[in-house]
C-alpha cells in the first residue's frame, strides 16, 4: 500500500478500532443449518421419546427420554411404571449430565508414571489380556462393582467364572444391611421388603429419610402424599435432626441420639399390649421396655410414647420404618429388629410391610465382603482388580484403610466412565458407555423388568463393559464360556414379548406377589441397648445421606450442587448444622468455620445454625468433599481456560473421613451413628452460600397454615391476619375477553415435600444455566422456582413451613408496567411473557416484583464453554444471553405445542393436556396446571378449595397461582374431632 500516508493510516486505525469496539459487545450470531440428508426417524422440531430406565441410584425408575434431533434433552418418568407412576426425583432429572459430562473419559486410558494417558482399545485390551493369561484360574482376579443391571451383571459373573477369578462383589454404600439382617432374624428372610406408603394411614419413621434417599424415594413420596390427601394420614419422625422428610411429617420426637431404639421397643411393647398381638419369643425381651422405663434414657416423656402407641394401635394401617442410614449404629440390626417387631405388633407385616416384591437392592454384597476384599488386597491375594462405578475410596470411612489396601494391588482396571478417587488408582481405564448410551435390563423389584435403551450414539470412544469382557474372555481363550450375542440380543431373548413392543412400554412383568412370612424370632446376640457413641466431645456427629448426592456419586453434577439443600437452602458446600442454642453456647455464628474432631480425624467446615436439630447434635451431609482427581489431561487445558464453575465435586468436606469405622457386629454393616465429636471454633469465617435470606416469615403470610378440623369442615377456618384479608378477584378476567384460556396453577403446600424435583425439572426443560459457586455466593442463582423453607420457634414449639415461589403470572403484574421497552408484557392468555430479544436489562422488573422470581443473566452463562453440556439444551427454549432478564413462563413452549395439537384437531385444549415440567415430575402431585377460565378444570376447582390463598394478594397483583395451605402439624396431631361433635361449643386447647 504505497499511498497510505499518516492521515489515512490513522483514519483506518480509528475506524477499525471503533468498529471492533461496537461489534465486541454483541453476541456472535449463530446460524441454523438444515439437514443435508435427513435421517428417516428424525423430523426436525419434533421430539422422539424413548422409554428407558434411570440409573442415578440403585432403585431404577422407569423413565422416558425426550430426544431432539438425536440428542436426549430431558428425562421424565414413565407413567407405565407401576412403582413410580411417571415421576422422577431431583437426581433423576439431572441424570443426563452424567452423559453430557465434559470430564468423562473420552476413550481408554493407561497409566504412564503418575498420569493417565490416552490409549487405543486394541492396545489396552491386548495389554490386559497379557496380564490376565498367567492369572487364569488363580483366583487372584477380583471384581468390585455396584448394584448392576441384569445383562451387564450376568456378563460380569460369567467372565469372572470364565477366567477363574473371585466371586464379583457388588458394593453399595447405602445397602440397608441392618434391615436385611433383622429380617433374617425376625422372619427368616434376607431381603428388603416393600413399604407401602400409599396404603398406610400412620407412618412412624425412625430416621428413615424415605423422601430423600431411603429405598425408592419417588415411590415412597408418591404413596405418602396420596395417603395424606384431604388431611388424612399422620406421620411421626423419630430422630435428632428434622430432615426434609421429617419436616413433611406431623410429629417430631427427638430422643437422645442413639437411644431411638428404645422408643421402637417401648412402642412395640405398648402396641402389642394394647392390641394383644403375639410377638412370640420376642415378647419376653421387649416386655421390659415400657413407656415409663425408657423415658429417662431417651429424654422423651412417657406420655408422648404412650400417646403414639395409642395412635398406632388405633390406626387402620400403621407403618413403622426401620432406621434410616443416619441412625444405624452399632446396634443397627437390633434397632431394625425392634422396628420390625413394632410392625408385627401393629399388624403391619403383610399389609403395609410386604415381603414380595422384594427390592433387588437387597441382594448386593455386604460390607463384610468389602472388608474381606480389602483384606485380600492387603494380603497380596489380588493381582488384578476390576472396578466399575464403585468408589469405595470415597465412601468407605478412611479408618478401614481401603485406599492403602488398594495400593497393594499390582494392577487395577476401571470401567467407570468418569474419574473418581478409586479410578484415580487405576492402571488401565476401559470406559463404559453411560446408561443413556447403552442397552440393558433391570429388575428394581422382583418381577418387574425394565429396559434400558440407548438414546444417543456413544459420545466418545467408549464401549459397553459386557462386550469388552466378552472380547477379553475371547482373547484369553475362554470365549466359549461367555454368554453369546450382543447385549440387545440377549435382552430380546429373555423377554416374553417382542422387543419393540416391550420397549414401547419400557418394560414388562409386574411386581411379584406378596408372600407370607412367619415369625422366626431369632433374637440371639441382638443387643437391645442404645447405640454406643465413642469418642470425646459433647456433640454427637450425625452423618446423613444427601438428597442431592446420594452416597456421593452425584456430587460431580453441577446442577445438583446448585439446587439448594431442602432444609438449609445451602449450595456448593458442606455445612455443620447445629442448633442456634448450641451455636450461642459455643460462640458461633453462621459462617464461622469449626473444626470437628473425632477419634478418626478432623474436618473443618462452616457452621449453619438452624432450629430443626437437637442441641446435642452436629449434623453433616455426606456426599461432598471429593478429592480433586486429574481429569483427562486433554481436558485440563480446557478447564483452565473456561473454568469459573470449578470441578463440581471438589467442594465441601467428606464427613465419612471422620467416622471411626465402627460396624454393627450382627449385620457387619457400617455404623453411621457411632461417634461424638468435639467442635471447636477456628476463628476463620466463610461465606455461607445459601438461597434463602432468612428462615423467619416476619409475619408476612407467605407460607400459611390451616387446621385439620377446618379442612374436615368441623370448625371455621382460622382467619388470616387482618392485613392479609383483601377482596377476592376473578383471575379468569385477566386474559383477553375473546381468549378461551387464562392459564393458572395451584400448588398444594400440604402435599409438597420440598424435594426439589420441580426445580431441577424446570432447569432442564428451560435451559437454565448453572452459574457456579462464586456467582451463587453473591446471590445470582438462576433457578426459576424457589422453594422457601421457614423454621420459627414459637411459644408452642418449632413451626416449620414451606412455600413454592415461582412467577405468579399476575393479572396486574408490577413487572410489566415498569419495563421501558415492553420486553415483558401481558399476553392474551394471561401470561407475563418475556421477550428476551427485546430486553435491555434495566432490571426494573425484578425490583418491582414482590415475589422476587425474576432472574438476571449477569454474565454470559452460556453452555458453549461446557461442551458437551450444551447438548442438553432444549431447542424449543431460547438460550438467554448476558444482560437479559428471565423467569418462569409456565413452560410456554409446552402450552404452544398443545394449542397447536388442539388446533389441528379442531378443538380447544382440554384440561390435563398441558403439564409444565415442574408439575410433570412432582412425586406428590402437588402442582396442578390448567385453564382458570374453565370452571370445570382441576385448577379452577382447586382454586375454590377453602385452603386456597394467593401469596401477597394484598398488593393487588392478581396472581394466577393459588397455594393450598399446609395443615398445621399440631392440629393434625390433635386429630380430627369425633364425628357429630358440637360445632358451636368448640374449645381451644
Amino acid at each position: 500500500m504505497p499511498d497510505l500516508d499518516r492521515r489515512e493510516f490513522l483514519k483506518i486505525v480509528g475506524l477499525s478500532a471503533g468498529a471492533a469496539a461496537t461489534v465486541a459487545c454483541e453476541e456472535p450470531v449463530q446460524k441454523i443449518i438444515p439437514y443435508l440428508n435427513q435421517p428417516e426417524e428424525i423430523v426436525p422440531g419434533v421430539p422422539t421419546w424413548y422409554a428407558s430406565t434411570c440409573r442415578e441410584c440403585p432403585n431404577a425408575c422407569a423413565i422416558q427420554v425426550k430426544t431432539r434431533e438425536g440428542r436426549p434433552i430431558k428425562v421424565e418418568g414413565n407413567p407405565d411404571d407401576p412403582v413410580t407412576g411417571g415421576k422422577v426425583c431431583v437426581r433423576g432429572q439431572a441424570g443426563l449430565y452424567r452423559t453430557y459430562d465434559a470430564d468423562r473419559f473420552r476413550g481408554p486410558m493407561k497409566r504412564e508414571g503418575d498420569k493417565l494417558v490416552s490409549a487405543s482399545w486394541e492396545e489396552a485390551l491386548a495389554s490386559l489380556a497379557g496380564r490376565l493369561r498367567p492369572l487364569l484360574d488363580s483366583g487372584k482376579v477380583a471384581w468390585l462393582g455396584p448394584q448392576d443391571t441384569r445383562v451387564s451383571g450376568e456378563a460380569v459373573e460369567a467372565f469372572m467364572r470364565a477366567i477363574g477369578g473371585q466371586q464379583p462383589l457388588r458394593y453399595e454404600a447405602l445397602a440397608w444391611e441392618s434391615l436385611r439382617s433383622a429380617n433374617e432374624r425376625i422372619f427368616g428372610v434376607d431381603a428388603i421388603p416393600q413399604f407401602d406408603f400409599g396404603a398406610s394411614d400412620l407412618v412412624v419413621s425412625f430416621g428413615a429419610d424415605f423422601e430423600e434417599t431411603w429405598l425408592n424415594p419417588v415411590a415412597n413420596q408418591r404413596g405418602y402424599a396420596d395417603a395424606r390427601r384431604d388431611g388424612k394420614g399422620f406421620g411421626v419422625w423419630v430422630g435428632p435432626r428434622l430432615s426434609m422428610t421429617g419436616a413433611d411429617m406431623d410429629q417430631w420426637i427427638a430422643p437422645k441420639p442413639g437411644s431411638e431404639i428404645l422408643i421402637a421397643l417401648a412402642l412395640a411393647n405398648e402396641v402389642a399390649r394394647r392390641k394383644g398381638s403375639s410377638l412370640g419369643a420376642a415378647k419376653a425381651i421387649i416386655s421390659r421396655f415400657t413407656a415409663g422405663s425408657v423415658a429417662a434414657q431417651t429424654g422423651v416423656e412417657a406420655g408422648v410414647i404412650e400417646g403414639l402407641a395409642q395412635r398406632i394401635s388405633e390406626a387402620a394401617a400403621p407403618l413403622a420404618l426401620p432406621p434410616g442410614n443416619e441412625l444405624v449404629g452399632t446396634n443397627g440390626t437390633a434397632f431394625a429388629a425392634a422396628v420390625q417387631l413394632l410392625n408385627v405388633a401393629s399388624g403391619a407385616i403383610g399389609k403395609t410391610v410386604r415381603f414380595g416384591p422384594n427390592r433387588e437392592l437387597g441382594k448386593v454384597g455386604r460390607f463384610r465382603n468389602m472388608k474381606e476384599l480389602a483384606g485380600a488386597m492387603r494380603g497380596g491375594k489380588v493381582a488384578v482388580l476390576f472396578v466399575k462405578d464403585a468408589n469405595p475410596v470415597y465412601s468407605v470411612p478412611e479408618a478401614f484403610g481401603f485406599e492403602d489396601a488398594l495400593e497393594q494391588v499390582p494392577f487395577i482396571v476401571s470401567f467407570s466412565s468418569a474419574n473418581d478417587e478409586t479410578t484415580a488408582h487405576a492402571d488401565l481405564v476401559l470406559p463404559n458407555n453411560t446408561p443413556f448410551e447403552s442397552w440393558d435390563e433391570l429388575e428394581p423389584v422382583s418381577g418387574l423388568r425394565l429396559l434400558q435403551q440407548p438414546t444417543l450414539r456413544p459420545l466418545f470412544d467408549t464401549r459397553p463393559t459386557a462386550e469388552v469382557l466378552a472380547e477379553l474372555a475371547q482373547s484369553v481363550g475362554r470365549g466359549e464360556r461367555m454368554p453369546s450375542g450382543d447385549v440387545r440380543t440377549r435382552i430380546a431373548s429373555g423377554l416374553s414379548g417382542r422387543l419393540d413392543a416391550v420397549l414401547a412400554k419400557g418394560g414388562e412383568g409386574a411386581p411379584a406377589r406378596t408372600v407370607r412370612v412367619s415369625l422366626a424370632n431369632d433374637l440371639s446376640g441382638l443387643d437391645f441397648s442404645p447405640a454406643a457413641l465413642e469418642g470425646e466431645g459433647e456433640l454427637v456427629l450425625l452423618a446423613y445421606p444427601s438428597l442431592h448426592f446420594y452416597d456421593g456419586r452425584s456430587a460431580r453434577i453441577q446442577r445438583l450442587q446448585e439446587v439448594p439443600d431442602p432444609v438449609t437452602k445451602t449450595m456448593w458446600g458442606s455445612y455443620a448444622e447445629i442448633h442456634p442454642d448450641t451455636a450461642e453456647r459455643l460462640d458461633l455464628e453462621r459462617g464461622d468455620v469449626v473444626r470437628i474432631r473425632t477419634g478418626a480425624g478432623q474436618i473443618e467446615l462452616p457452621v449453619f445454625p438452624h432450629e430443626a436439630i437437637r442441641p446435642d447434635v452436629v449434623a453433616v451431609a455426606i456426599g461432598q468433599g471429593h478429592r480433586p482427581v486429574d481429569p483427562d489431561p486433554d481436558l485440563s487445558e480446557r478447564w483452565q481456560n473456561h473454568d469459573w464453575l470449578g470441578l463440581a465435586d471438589v467442594h465441601g468436606v467428606n464427613v465419612l473421613s471422620v467416622l471411626p469405622g465402627k460396624i454393627d457386629p450382627v449385620s457387619g454393616g457400617l455404623a453411621w451413628l457411632s461417634t461424638k465429636a468435639a467442635v471447636e471454633k477456628t476463628g476463620e469465617r466463610r461465606h455461607v452460600v445459601a438461597s434463602q435470606g432468612t428462615f423467619k416469615q416476619e409475619g408476612r403470610g407467605i407460607a400459611r397454615e390451616t387446621t385439620l378440623a377446618a379442612v374436615l369442615g368441623q370448625e371455621p377456618a382460622p382467619r388470616d391476619a387482618p392485613e392479609l384479608i383483601v377482596k377476592d378477584y376473578d383471575p379468569a378476567r385477566d386474559s383477553a375477553q375473546d381468549s378461551p384460556y387464562r392459564w393458572g396453577m395451584s400448588i398444594d403446600l400440604d402435599a409438597c415435600s420440598g424435594c426439589n424435583a420441580c426445580i431441577t425439572a424446570c432447569a432442564q426443560e428451560n435451559n437454565i444455566p448453572t452459574v457456579g459457586e462464586e456467582m451463587v455466593r453473591v446471590g445470582r442463582e438462576m433457578q426459576w422456582i424457589r422453594l422457601e423453607r421457614y423454621a420459627e420457634r414459637g411459644d408452642d414449639g418449632l413451626d416449620v413451613r414451606k412455600a413454592v415461589m415461582l412467577c405468579q403470572q399476575c393479572g396486574a403484574a408490577p413487572c410489566e408496567n415498569v419495563c421501558p421497552v415492553y420486553a415483558t408484557y401481558h399476553t392474551g392468555e394471561g401470561l407475563n411473557a418475556m421477550v428476551y430479544n427485546r430486553c435491555i436489562g434495566t432490571r426494573y422488573c425484578s425490583n418491582n416484583c414482590p415475589y422476587k422470581v425474576r432472574r438476571f443473566n449477569y454474565l454470559p452463562y452460556d453452555f458453549e464453554v461446557r461442551e458437551p453440556v450444551n447438548w442438553a439444551l432444549n431447542p424449543d427454549v431460547t438460550v438467554r444471553s448476558k444482560g437479559v432478564m428471565e423467569k418462569c413462563t409456565f413452560c410456554v413452549q409446552r402450552i404452544q405445542e398443545q394449542k397447536f395439537e388442539a388446533k389441528k384437531a379442531g378443538r380447544l385444549v382440554a384440561d390435563g393436556d398441558i403439564t409444565p415440567a415442574c408439575a410433570q415430575t412432582c412425586p406428590s402431585n402437588a402442582i396442578v396446571f390448567g385453564n382458570l377460565k374453565d370452571p370445570a378444570s382441576r385448577v379452577s376447582r382447586l382454586w375454590q378449595d377453602p385452603r386456597a390463598y394467593n401469596a401477597l394478594k394484598q398488593l393487588n397483583t392478581r396472581p394466577a397461582i393459588a397455594s393450598l395451605k399446609q395443615i398445621d402439624r399440631r392440629s393434625r396431631k390433635a386429630g380430627a374431632r369425633p364425628q357429630g361433635g358440637d360445632h358451636g361449643n368448640s374449645e381451644h386447647s
Binding site: 415498569v818 421501558p820 415492553y822 435491555i840 426494573y844 414482590p850 422476587k852 449477569y858 448476558k882
Partner: protein, 450 residues
Amino acid sequence: MVSVTDSSPETPTQISDEVFRTLEPPTPIYVLAVLFVMLLVGAAIAGLAYQTYAGFGGIGVTGLMHPVMWGVYITCFVFWVGIAHAGTLISAVLYLFRARWRNAINRSAEAMTVFAVITAALFPLIHIGRLWKFYFMLPYPNQRQLWVNFKSPLEWDVFAVQTYMIISILFFFVGLIPDLAAARDRCTDWRKYLYTALALGWRGTSEQWRHHARAVLHLSGLATPLVLSVHSVVSWDFAMSLVPGWHTTIFAPYFVAGAIFSGIAMVITLIVPVRKAFGLEGVIRAEHFDNMGKFLLLTSCIVGYSYGVEYFMAWYSGNVFEQQSFWARAFGDYWWASWTMIICNVVVPLPLWFKRVRLSVVAMWIISIFVNIGMWFERFVIITTGLSHEYDSSAWGYYTPGLVEITILIGSFAWFFMWFLIALRLIPMVAISEVKELYFHDQEAKAGTG
C-alpha cells in the same frame, strides 16, 4: 477561620480583568490536575469496557445481585441529576425572583449543571444489561412496529433528562454569548477563532441586548418548571414502584429538595477552590456564601424533615413491610449507610444557623463536602435498603458494590471535574456582563441616595 473579604472591585475594567484571569496560560498544577482526572476517567472507561466486553464481561462484574439489582450506578445517576439542579435553580429561578446575588455564581452553577447532566445521562447506559441495545428506549419508527412503554417511569426519565439537558445547555450558552464576545475581543491566540464562532457575531448593540434579555427571560421561564419536574420524575422511578421504602407520595418534593441541597453543596465545593485559585474574592463575596449557606440550611431542614416523615409514615401505616423495611434501614445490615446519610445531611449542616459559620469559607467548604457525601449515601440507602428487604423474606439479600462499580463511581467524579477544569480555561467562569450590570445598578443606587 478565614473570613470572606468583602472588597468590591473598583471599576468594570477591574471586573473583566479579574474574571479573565482564569483564561490566562495554565499553571503546572492545573495541567497535573487535568491529567490526573483524565487518568481516573481512563480507569473508568477501562472498567466499562471490561463490563461490556463480549467474551466474559457483563453486569456480573459489579456486585449487583438478586434481589438488589440496582446499586451504585443508579445511585450515581440520581446523585448527578440532583447535582444538576442547583445550576438551573440559581440561574433561572433566582433570576425570576431577581435575587441579584446569584450573578456571581450562576456561570459556574450553570456549567456544573451541564456537566452533571452529561455525567448523569451516562449512568443509565452504564447500568443496563445490554448497552448496545440502548436505542430500544427511544421511540423511533421501525419496521417491526416496536414501541416504547410510556407507562414506565424509566421511559419518563429518558424524556425528562433529555429535555433538561437540552434546556440547560441552551440556557448556559445563551448566557455565555456576551462574555464570549468579550473574550473574543481580548483574545489573540487560537481561542479567538473559537470565541468568534461561539459569540455568534455579538456586537453588544442595544438591539442585541434587548433580544438577549428576552431570551434569558423566556429560557428562565422554561427552565423553572424543569427544576421541579426532572427530579420529580426521577423520584417516580422509585415512588411508582411497589418496593417498601420506595413507594411513598413524599418522594417528589423530598427528592427536589434533596437535589437542590446537593446542588448547592456542589456549587460551594467547586467555587471555593476556584475563587481561591484565581483570586476572585472580589467578585464572589461574603454575601454569596451567606446566602448559599441559608439555602443549604433550608434544604437540609426539608430533607431532615422528609427522613422523619418517612419513618413516621412507615410506623403509622401499620404496614408490616414498610415497618420492617425502615427498621432494617436504621438498624439492619445497612445501618452504617443510613447513619452516614443522617449525620452528613442533617447533623453536619446544623452550624449553618450561625452567621459566623456561613461567612467562613473553610467551614462552608467542609460542610458542603459532607453534604455531597451524605446526599450520595441518601440515594444509596433508599435504593439498596429498599431492595434488599422486600416483601418475601426468603429472598432478602445483601449487596456489596464491586470494584468496577467503585472505579466507575470515582471515574464519574473525575469525568465531571475534567469538564469543569477544561471549561475553567475556556470560558469566563463569572458572568461578566451580569456582574457589570450589578455594578452599575449599585453605582446608580449610590448616586440616587447619595
